[in-house]
């Protein structure tokens, strides 16, 4: 009885997994991911600008940014450009350039997390600036403007 239920549950989750891979579904998902990245980025800037100083939080945001930005290219499967998205077609026509932009952000966020762990204020500030440059750089080329 029990094994039967598990088998059915497994089957059900398999079918939902099959749906989960549809590229359009990535649009909402990556927008949520980007919103989360923006949230941690904004929060980190509040701390670095000296507006608040909750103990331990800077490392939390830096680590989250590092983890969230570790594979941004995977959020853009081919075909996920239909619907409510600002992803530009250039992402797929210039995939290697896009992968590089994603890689730059991975490197910069990892360096930021490392700088925060190291604790040197100058390094932290420089590394955070670099993170911002990679966000802006990718958005400039691969994201539609606001309307």
């Amino acid at each position: 009885m029990k094994t039967g239920a598990i088998a059915i549950a497994a089957l059900l989750s398999l079918t939902s997994l099959a749906h989960a891979d549809e590229p359009e579904n990535f649009i909402k998902y990556r927008q949520s991911m980007m919103t989360a990245i923006g949230g941690h980025n904004g929060a980190a800037s509040q701390i670095l600008r000296g507006k608040v100083a909750p103990p331990g939080h800077l490392a939390m945001h830096a680590n989250a940014l590092r983890d969230l930005a570790s594979d941004l290219a995977a959020l853009f499967p081919e075909g996920s450009d239909f619907g409510e998205t600002k992803a530009k077609a250039e992402i797929w026509s210039d995939w290697s350039g896009f992968e590089k932009a994603a890689g730059d952000s991975k490197t910069a966020t990892a360096a930021f997390a490392e700088a925060v762990a190291g604790g040197d204020a100058g390094n932290i500030e420089a590394a955070f600036k670099q993170v911002g440059e990679t966000c802006k750089g990718c958005h400039k080329t691969y994201r539609e403007k606001d309307d």
Partner: protein
């Protein structure tokens, strides 16, 4: 009326501090407009696609044939502040002399001196591709109707606010994009100063930057604004895009922290107006 000369003097002393031409060139955002994509800085050729046709910025390096190498200081100041060329022709207001006319002669002259000190670069100007009904001669009439008289900028008791206003209005020409225009392309400064525009220079909307709390940036504090002008980061952790990237990269990020602070302080005093 009698108080004007005193006000002019005050404005000239307290507001136009920097005489470094390169700094002023950055503050006034000349480089982005006068540089084609991937082209030689200041040699012109950037295209502006508008409902009035496609305009191309000219070469403002000191090349004597294709640039402004033969211009005098006075001719340059007249171009920047009155929209008039050395041979008396009126410029189209894509060149934002409607804002630059608020600049002091001293600052306009310093920009001239700086440009003349650069390496000349030969590059022929490209003719504008105007809408069929538009002719340059009409600009004289347009200027006659629409160009504000040269009145001094309002001055407050706070020198920082005055400096901020000068940076925002005269040099930064923020209103050229952020203030809506009427049917004849004139900024509606009286009623909708900085209240946002449905159609900016590239056809996209430009946001309201008055202190209106729901439409504008009333919820930003001065520090958020200052940080934005330095980095382009919005309070929500995202970054501005579109034409504002040029403004930040080529202009506001290159200013001193004190000047960004003055701009932010001034913007916080702009009355709230809902987006038209």
């Amino acid at each position: 009326m009698l108080r004007w000369p005193a006000l002019v003097l005050l404005a000239a002393v307290s507001v136009a501090q920097a005489t470094d031409g390169e700094y002023l060139l950055n503050a006034a955002g000349c480089v982005a407009c006068h540089t084609a994509e991937g082209g030689r800085p200041l040699a012109g050729g950037r295209a502006f696609v508008t409902p009035y046709g496609t305009f191309y910025s000219p070469n403002i390096t000191p090349d004597r044939e294709t640039g402004i190498g033969t211009w005098s200081r006075a001719q340059f100041v007249a171009a920047l502040k009155h929209g008039t060329s050395p041979d008396g022709v009126a410029y189209f207001p894509v060149f934002p002399y409607t804002s630059y006319r608020l600049m002091s002669d001293q600052d306009a002259g310093a920009i001239h001196d700086h440009l003349q000190s650069l390496e000349p670069y030969q590059q022929q100007n490209r003719e504008h591709d105007l809408a069929w009904w538009l002719g340059r001669w009409m600009m004289k009439l347009w200027q006659w109707w629409n160009l504000d008289p040269l009145v001094p900028m309002p001055v407050t008791k706070d020198p920082m606010i005055n400096r901020g206003r000068y940076l925002v209005d005269a040099l930064g020409h923020c209103g050229e994009c952020h203030t809506p225009r009427n049917w004849s392309g004139v900024m509606v400064r009286q009623s909708h100063y900085l209240a946002g525009s449905k159609q900016g220079p590239d056809g996209d909307a430009v946001p309201n930057i008055t202190t209106d709390r729901s439409n504008g940036i009333g919820k930003w504090d001065a520090d958020d604004l200052q940080y934005f002008l330095e980095t382009g980061a919005l309070p929500n952790g995202d970054y501005a895009g579109g034409l504002m990237t040029d403004v930040i990269d080529n202009s506001t990020s290159k200013l001193t922290a004190a000047d960004r602070k003055a701009m932010a302080a001034y913007l916080k005093t702009v009355p709230a107006v809902a987006t038209p």
